[in-house]
Symmetry: C2
Subunit: 235 residues, 2 copies
DNA sequence: GCATAATAGTGGTGTGAAGCCACTAAGAAC
DNA sequence: GTTCTTAGTGGCTTCACACCACTATTATGC
């Protein structure tokens, strides 16, 4: 196809939004901000905003910048989800937004406020309890679905925990997000066989019962794929 | 985060590109066009171009439009791959491109020319045999990887075949893309048990041996997930 | 017509990871 | 100590797949 000269088409607005997940008090939470300006002023929405071609070298860099501005966390798990763009998703005009989703331990976050009201909101099913601006309810639902399906066959839940954690804590994280109980024995076999964890010898976490062995995630660059899905099977 | 007024930032250019796959003569092929204009004039590249906010209601609609313009095929398998955007990927300035990948039967395609030279090019590994413009080599590699990993646990290869096909043809398609021989018996069990195919009773395809039963894909809307990955296991 | 090649399709045993569940281990509270 | 609570282990079963040998149905060459 020929490339038309670049002035021939108007450009759509281009933004980057974030779906930032954490697990706290036994529930999946997402970070939302209350919009200070129209459109959807006063409404809750996903954090994000316009990409700045002068400051941002790339879309990825823009997402990383917004993440630090919002949470102070520098290098959590950050993955591009999808791009949503249409004439009518924003009353200001044709916009496209590239959405990223991030996973982080709730302890690691400092909400900076950043002149906007930001807070963690519990996710029930694939939604929150109140209306979101723009098409953000749909985006959130897609992000939750992606999170769940990635949990089925990868290790990414470790990014929702602090650096050191126990196997029961990791299992509980999976159970919270997948919304189903998992068998302890099978879960441990699966995780140990994947060789993705490093035992912190002599380090344990005390609780109300027998102390649990602490582990650390071994290699943040590698993606562990389990040979089978964690839930029974699809359909 | 506050929404800055919309005039404060310049907008990046926004394009949509397509990675269109088919299988012909025992190899995976991708549709490429020879660029008629700078930048990268004369170079081969993925088909695509600027989104037109006046004509395109959404990014998805833009991808569907470009696909029809390029191949004449109206409703093949079309899925958003990823968005690539940076200051330096296009010499004309800061651009973002949302890339889609499409699967279609080679018989169904009519190359319309569309004032550009377009043709099918064999994919070896995750690349083609010559240099591509922009960052399209990287994009192609990502698309091939996504195609392979989706083939591991879904049915999507059926979209690379005509509406009616035999099980050996389907198996051959998987083998070509996954680049490994598959066991006939296991493959058939897997596909039959997934209940995704409809036997066309009394319809067979003749060849040089015993004729093969024809099948049709049952439900184009449903995503079939197989309980295990088709290759041994990852790593 | 008959042997042979070629491809389609079936069946049966072994395996590895998961399900299921009962068991032991090690701490705290009393 | 006993009991409660949570951590961790072990063993049998199940299920889908690998592996491979077998039968089935056509065309081809003589």
């Amino acid at each position: 196809m020929t490339a038309p000269d670049t002035s021939r088409y108007e450009k759509p607005f281009f933004t980057v939004d974030l779906v930032i997940f954490t697990v706290r008090s036994e529930h999946l939470h997402v970070l939302l901000v209350q919009r200070a300006e129209p459109p959807f002023k006063g409404c809750w929405a996903l954090p994000g905003g316009f990409l700045d071609p002068r400051r941002d070298d790339s879309v990825d860099a823009c997402a990383a910048r917004k993440l630090v501005e919002e949470t102070g966390v520098r290098a959590p798990y950050l993955e591009q989800l999808k791009t949503y763009g249409s004439r009518d998703r924003d009353p200001r005009g044709w916009t496209a937004t590239t959405v990223y989703f991030a996973l982080m331990a709730s302890e690691s976050v400092r909400l900076w406020g950043n002149q906007a009201e930001a807070c963690w909101v519990g996710v029930r099913g694939d939604r929150v309890d109140f209306a979101l601006g723009f098409d953000h309810a749909r985006i959130l639902a897609d992000a939750v679905e992606r999170l769940r399906s990635k949990l089925e066959y990868t290790h990414i839940a470790v990014h929702l925990l602090p650096e050191e954690f126990t196997l029961p804590e990791l299992q509980r994280t999976y159970e919270i997000i997948l919304q189903q109980p998992l068998d302890k024995s099978s879960f441990r076999r699966r995780v140990i066989q994947a060789d993705m964890l490093e035992e912190l010898i002599g380090r344990q976490r005390d609780g109300s019962g027998r102390p649990a062995q602490l582990y650390r995630f071994r290699d943040y660059d590698r993606q562990t794929f389990f040979p089978r899905s964690i839930s029974r099977h699809a359909r």
